[in-house]
Structure formats: C-alpha cells, structure tokens
Symmetry: C2
Subunit: 319 residues, 2 copies
C-alpha cells in the first residue's frame, strides 16, 4: 500500500474530515488509487444504518434530511449525508431557509455532508455512491442519509439497497400516484407526505395507505410501511419519522431481515463494480485494438448485430 493511501486511510479511521473529503473526491473521480484504500477500509464498515430518501423533485427531501439530521444529532449520534439529487438544494440553488439550516449542520463536527454529481462514467455513479457510503461508514457515521431523486433507474437501485428506504411525497398531484405506479410503492419502508400543511395531505396519506393495504404482505411477521405526515420546514413530524426509522431498524434486526438486506446490497454493489469494469475493458478493446476497431466497423456496416458483437467482445475481454 502506498504511503499516501495509508495516510488517508488512517486519517479517515481517526475521524479526520479532510481525509474523508479527499477520499470521497477520489472515488467520485474514479481514481484507481481509491481501490487500494477501499480494500483496507472495508473491514471497518458495516456499522452505519443507511437510510435512502427518494421522491420527486420539490417534495422537500433535502429539508427533511436536514431536519432528520438535527434529530439524530440531538440523540447524540453522528450522521453523514450523501446527496445525488441534481435538483436538491444540497447540490446548489438552496432556498434561504435551507441554506441557513445546512450551514448550521455543516458547522457541526458530528455531521458530514457530501453532494455527488449525477453524471460520470457508465455505471460509475452507483459504484461511487456505494464507495461513499462505505467511506462514511468507516469514518464512524451512525446514520448515513442518501438523498436521490426518484425518477431514474440508477437512483432507485441505490436507494433500494439502503437498510431503510424513505419515500417522500407531496400532498395532492397525479405525479404522486404515477410515482407509486412506477414501482416506488415496492421499495418504500416508510412513506412520508411532506409539506403536510398544504391542502390534501390527509387525502394523499390515505391514498397511499390504501395502496399499501392492497399489496399482499409477503408473510405474517413482515413490515407494514407506515405513512407519516411531516412539515420539515417547521420541523413537524420529524420525531415520528425518527421513531419510525428506529422501529424499522429494530424490525430488521429482530426478524433477521438485516442480514439478507446487507447481502442484497453487497451483491448489487459487486454487480455495479463488475459492469463498470467490463465496460471500461470493452471500451479500451473497441478503441485501442485492431480487432475492436474492426468490430466497430462491422457493426456500423450492419454486418454484425450488437448482441453478436457482445459475444465477440466477451471472448476477447481481459478485465
């Protein structure tokens, strides 16, 4: 292990914020040196409770994350926030209220906030998010909140593998029902109707409750997702949300579901890494080898279909 990697790794484990920030930048940039550090960190992970927050833009996920982080801190626990939502105030364009709240949080040594670009290399984003979760876990965060926008496949995949997935909605709006149709219902462990001071909040709550009731529970002892009302800007309903998180955490531990969730997340993480590695190797092969360039030419001439070209690449690939 190179001395600089060792230095960063030790720094992180001792709770040095600059080391954490540097490592997060390395994984975000896809720096190959990060792999060495990730390997060494890995045995120090597995302690944090990872909470995914998803929902459409404008549902107030960031404000909710801030309020929740405040509650977690008041319990004497530390919290990391990873934000992957391009429409989030964490990543820019914060409203004044949020900005003040975030500055308060950012000055607290028990809070670590990081926003990540939602672009990046093919498949690279999921890998970077998972690496970031592992970094903040090894850094010692008790809770890690991952905020993503609920529209994309990658984001849903990431949130799905959190220990607890919180789906944030707004009162009214056909969008919310659309979101439920789009598969959000199955991934939510806790549903929150935020901005509950607006008209129609109770109605939206009962709509979601009805849809949950219509979904058959997998088995008798299984978790029934609660639907909560919050008004994050006024800090209303946050204690109830924190209590629901705690209840879900206890349920996972008591039911043995935690172990299978952890295994699912690891498999997903492994598959993301595989996809990224295979893609990089395939790009190199297509661009830098005669065989690859010839394959690209034959595809363009429509002499070979992409599915068949994939067979050829697999035969030649050295990842």
């Amino acid at each position: 292990m190179s001395s600089s990697s060792e230095f960063l790794c030790e720094g992180l484990l001792e709770g040095d914020r600059r080391s954490a920030a540097r490592l997060l930048t390395m994984v975000e940039d896809g720096d190959p040196a990060a792999r060495e550090v990730m390997r060494r960190l890995y045995r120090h992970t597995g302690r944090a409770h990872v909470v995914g927050l998803t929902g459409s833009p404008g549902s107030g996920k960031s404000t909710l994350a801030c309020a929740l982080a405040g509650n977690i801190r008041a319990q004497g626990l530390s919290v990391g926030i990873i934000c992957v939502d391009p429409s989030s105030p964490f990543t820019g364009g914060a409203l004044l209220g949020d900005r003040v709240r975030m500055q308060e949080l950012a000055g607290d040594p028990g809070v670590f906030i990081r926003s990540m670009g939602s672009r990046g290399a093919l498949g690279g984003l999921s890998v970077a998010i998972n690496d970031a979760i592992n970094i903040l876990d090894a850094f010692g965060s008790d809770y890690i909140l991952v905020e993503t926008v609920g529209a994309g496949q990658v984001e849903i995949e990431v949130v799905k593998y959190a220990h607890t997935c919180v789906v944030v909605m707004m009162p009214g709006g056909g969008d919310e029902i659309q979101a439920i149709k789009a598969g959000i219902l199955e991934i939510g462990d806790i549903f929150v109707v935020n901005k509950s001071d607006r008209q129609g909040a109770e109605r939206t709550m009962s709509d979601i409750e009805m849809m949950i009731e219509m979904t058959p529970a997998p088995d008798a002892g299984s978790w029934r997702p609660p639907v909560l009302l919050t008004a994050a800007l006024e800090s209303r309903g946050i204690e109830e949300l924190a209590a629901a998180l705690e209840a879900h955490k206890e349920h996972l531990e008591a039911s043995g579901r935690l172990a299978s969730k952890v295994e699912e997340r690891m498999k997903a993480e492994l598959l993301e890494i595989l996809s990224m590695r295979v893609s990089s190797a395939a790009i190199r092969m297509l661009e830098d080898s005669d065989a690859g360039r010839d394959l690209a030419r034959r595809m363009t001439a429509r002499e070979i279909a992409p599915h068949d070209a994939a067979d050829e690449v697999i035969r030649r690939l050295r990842c």
Copy 2:
C-alpha cells in the same frame, strides 16, 4: 432459426403491426428468443431518424410528441413513439386532451406507439429500448420519437445516443436551471420552451440561449442548438420544431457527424448488452455455485471487499 421467430421477423418486415407488438413484448420481457430475431432484423435497420425527447415531468413532452407525430404524418412519413417516462400520459393517467390526441394517432396505420416500463432487470431497460428502436426501424418507421424523463442516468444515456436530442423545458422555475446544471445542456441538439403561453417563456428562452452562447463551440462548422417556443396543446411552434429537426438531420449528414453518432450509439448499445450479460452471469454464479455462495458469505463477513470480489467473479465468469 425457429419457425416462430422467422414468422415474426417476416411479419415485421412486411409491416404487420401484431408482429411488431409481439416482438416489442419479447424484448421488454428479456425473452431469449428475441435475440435470434434481433440478429436477423439488424441488417434492415439504420434508416429511421431517432429523436430523443427529454425534460422534467410536467414539461409536456408527450403532448409535444403527439403534435410532432401529427406534423410528421402530414409530411407523408411514418412515425414510431417509444415512451419510457413513468410520469407520461402515454404510460397512464393521460389528460383528456392528450387522450383524444393519442387515440387519433393510435388509429393511424402510419403511427406505432409503445410504452415501456422503467423498471426491469439491471441494465435491462437500456437494452430493451435500443432493441425497440431497432424493431421500429426495421418495421419501417421514418422517425422514431423516444420520450424519457430527464432525471435519471439510464434515460439520459439513451437519449444521448439518439440522432437528435430535444430537451423540453417549461417557462420559469429554478428546476430548469438545475436541469441545465445537471448536464442537460451538453446533450441537447434542440431546446424547446413548451407551454410558452405561460409567463416567463421569453425569459427562460433567453436564459437558455445565453448559457448556450457561453459554451464554446467545438469547432467552426459545429451545430448551434436553437431554442424554440412551443405551445404543444395549441399546436403552436410545431412546424418550427419539425423544421429544426430537419435542419439538424441535414447538418448531421452534411458534416459527417451522422456516421460518428451512429457509431457512438452502437458502442453504447454494445456496452449495455455486455453489462446485462455479465450481470446475469454473475448473479447465476453467486447464487448457483458453491464458489459463488462462498464469495457472498465472505463479503457479508467483510473478509473480502466488493472490488476484490469482482476480481474473483471475473476470473470465474462464463458469460
């Protein structure tokens, strides 16, 4: 080739709608029999002009797609529409006006509309969309409109590889500026401020124009994305949009950019297929082999980090 695959393939090439619908279902379901058909179809593809339509939910992409399809039909050309946006009226929850418009379109033999689920297997969605484009291409569509929501990585990837990418925005709203920040600016060949009867349309248009002007053009003869105002519900600005599409198409052909776009799309398609195949093989290996189960156990015990487990899987993989 099995006789049923041959039957479907012939049907599609003869313009039989039921064959097209059946094939689309097969690729959506990830039916292995589809590969055989796709292989045979491939040399009949490459004629359609593929237009990606992206933008945030509520920007009116579907209404615009309908209006644009009407214009294309009036030119005597055929059009296929693939919709991957869960919030789109094509996939459910249509407003009355849209529904009427869509029914008119759906009854037209020169129009083929298909919505696709935005869930599905890991990496499977992009592969299915690309297959669907190839099917409608072989089916004989002159234009293929692909509507996706602009928030997710997968959707952006797909739209990016269309021949022409149209980014649809709404007047006002910080969301739009956020979207631009999130990388939408770089992928748009044409920008549309839809719902231009609303306040602030000109302002949004000039904001986008300014951002485009600030972006240095790659070279002297390169394409400058136009920014258009439309009100799709009232069919306003649609002719201008159709003209811009035609102009971009001509630019791609005249500048030689078309060939490189086609090659980029094929490479992207190949990489998606590779990722999907490698993921499936890795899942089988992890779940159905002793070595795989042992690897999963060692990951869960944090004896091996996911990046290192990926090395082991690659060594053992048979795709």
